[in-house]
Symmetry: C2
Subunit: 362 residues, 2 copies
């Protein structure tokens, strides 16, 4: 039986001022008219029942999320603190295993763009069948189309000994190693070699299998998770989760488990995947007008090229004589920065967090 | 007896979005905490009685102006249409002559910055005495401090035959010709020659003398003014002014009268004069922080230099990695442009005026 854990962990930094702590990227309409989390749920509809979908998120985001996702309250898991993906996935696995000891879980970031929905479902089905048959940890990799420095990479080799149709289709690989976001030169090498995929952060496995892997590679996390499991049906649940989280280190599932585990496979996710990581990526993704601009809301511009101008409905945004710029308006804030600095918007957010009386802008 | 005609004719284009049709530069706090028109009136207080001060403006600006200037309603002259300075000054002269046939009028733009108030009064007193004794048209010139291309110039020669203390002080000159805003090369020549002054647009003369000069050089305007004079005390006054204005050409006092008149003198106005003509000039005028920025309101910036950032009280303006920029926020609009394009802000205003549903931003 297929379950899904949607990981909605964004902190709302990279798409500031549109994204905020309480309203991060997954709750924005970045790609379509719907929010990314709504699109993510929509995409699962034909093959994973709503009753088997969990969303894990920061407790700050729960109120907004509840309005968007129309899931039962108990399907929305509120983390008291952010402790990265290993912890979030571990907690999700505990809950799913409780519901179905043999359940397969798909771990899905809430803020990805996926253009080809049917292919997406096919890839996940294939991943689920391998996870089931091989008791394997399956990760979805994306064939690089350019030497991106904003994604992690996964080095693979041909999968041996998997008696599966997919192998013949050359979609299944054995994982050799995980590589952090590389420098430009390395990214170019990876692209040329053909043995590297982008790490999409989408994983498929039995809840019981990932918990076993956590037990082996992150024993401290495992014992915390067991404490939580013991009191899931008690009144102390919230208290215990908070206590356990406080004592945990922040570690990603990639570094904490995947890099060390043996039975890791990669399946190529050829379903039109994009993880917009910055306003520049937003510009790259969207259709441009004849001057190369992506404009929304009320705006006027003269001699302005290759820019993103997001006004709002009431306020007029006027730009004159600038190129490769990003201007983002929200009700209470404005961002102005060049496209090639959009990866540093988080520095602005950090600066704002230090200023007295500016908390409300985070 | 000294009268003053304050010419508040701005259309609110160059300092958009702070300046608007109904709230142009003279009604903004550009240099001090007070609006420019308030500063202008304040400056006159010690030597021209409020009862002898008139303000001439577009009818759109009357409501805002009334709140600011605390003059009697009849001292605020509302022009039904904009017909440039010759018309405005002509109408002012008619009104002042009616009150005092021998009255001397100081014509003063409402949106100048003047740092040395005592010197300012001394210069105007000197100008008034020459205007009275010589029946002359007196203009105040500013010694150029750099080769400005944004001001008109006046070429002078030493004044001969004026038996006046000021001549000995080398402050009074005879005007040779008026020069329109020059190109850079010419401006540099003017600066080097030492015989050129900036045209401040401040004039002093007998109301009767300027009307005589208008009669000679702009007879059509003169006959219109006489029609207005005839009905000043009648109910038809407003109607007649409107009718006369419709038939008039738009012409400045410089080109319409001053260039052609003979008895024109220039007095050096060494009173710390500035006419801020753009957001760049605003930046040049104000004190900068250690990064060369002039910031107001709520703002955060990183790697940003030599820029103007005007936020407002509520909205946060965040700028990252840009230099020589101007970002101006108002309640309903935002301007983003490089400093070297601020003279083209009027193009944006023109563009906005063409757009459906954007009139409210003018």
């Amino acid at each position: 039986m297929l379950y899904c854990l949607i990981i909605a962990g964004g902190k709302g930094k990279r798409f500031w001022p549109k994204s905020r702590i309480k309203n991060p990227k997954q709750m924005l309409s970045v790609a379509t008219r719907k929010t990314m989390i709504e699109d993510t749920l929509e995409r699962l509809k034909p093959f994973i029942d709503k009753k088997r979908i969990f969303v894990i998120t920061n407790k700050e985001q729960v109120p907004t999320l509840k309005k968007l996702v129309l899931l039962e309250r108990k399907k929305i898991i509120a983390e008291p603190l952010s402790r990265n993906t290993a912890t979030a996935i571990g907690l999700g696995a505990v809950l799913i295993k409780k519901e179905n000891p043999d359940g397969i879980m798909v771990c899905l970031p809430a803020d990805h763009i996926i253009r080809k929905k049917t292919k997406f479902r096919k890839v996940l089905s294939l991943a689920a069948s391998i996870a089931r048959k091989e008791n394997a940890l399956v990760t979805i990799g994306i064939k690089p189309s350019y030497p991106a420095t904003g994604y992690g990479y996964i080095k693979v080799q041909r999968a041996k000994g998997i008696g599966h149709r997919a192998k013949r289709e050359k979609k299944v690989f054995q994982v050799e190693r995980f590589v952090e976001k590389p420098k430009k030169e390395d990214a170019e090498k990876f692209l040329r070699s053909g043995n590297y995929f982008w790490n999409s952060g989408i994983f498929v496995w039995r809840a019981s299998v990932i918990l076993e892997a956590i037990k082996e590679h992150l024993p401290q996390l495992y014992s915390g998770l067991m404490k939580i499991e013991d009191c899931l049906k008690t009144k102390q649940r919230k208290e215990v989760i908070k206590e356990v989280y406080k004592g945990l280190k922040s570690i990603s599932i990639d570094y904490g488990v995947m890099e060390k585990a043996r039975n890791v496979f990669l399946i190529e996710g050829d379903f039109g995947w994009t993880d917009l990581g910055s306003w520049r990526a937003f510009w790259e993704f969207h259709k441009k007008d004849e001057k190369g601009n992506v404009c929304r809301g009320k705006s006027v511009h003269i001699d302005t090229y290759n820019s993103v101008i997001i006004g709002d409905k009431e306020r007029l945004t006027a730009v004159l004589g600038l190129s490769n710029l990003v201007v983002i308006q929200t009700k209470d804030a404005t961002l102005v920065c060049p496209q090639d600095r959009t990866q540093d918007v988080k520095l602005l957010v950090k600066e704002i967090s230090k200023r007295r009386g500016m908390k409300k802008f985070l």
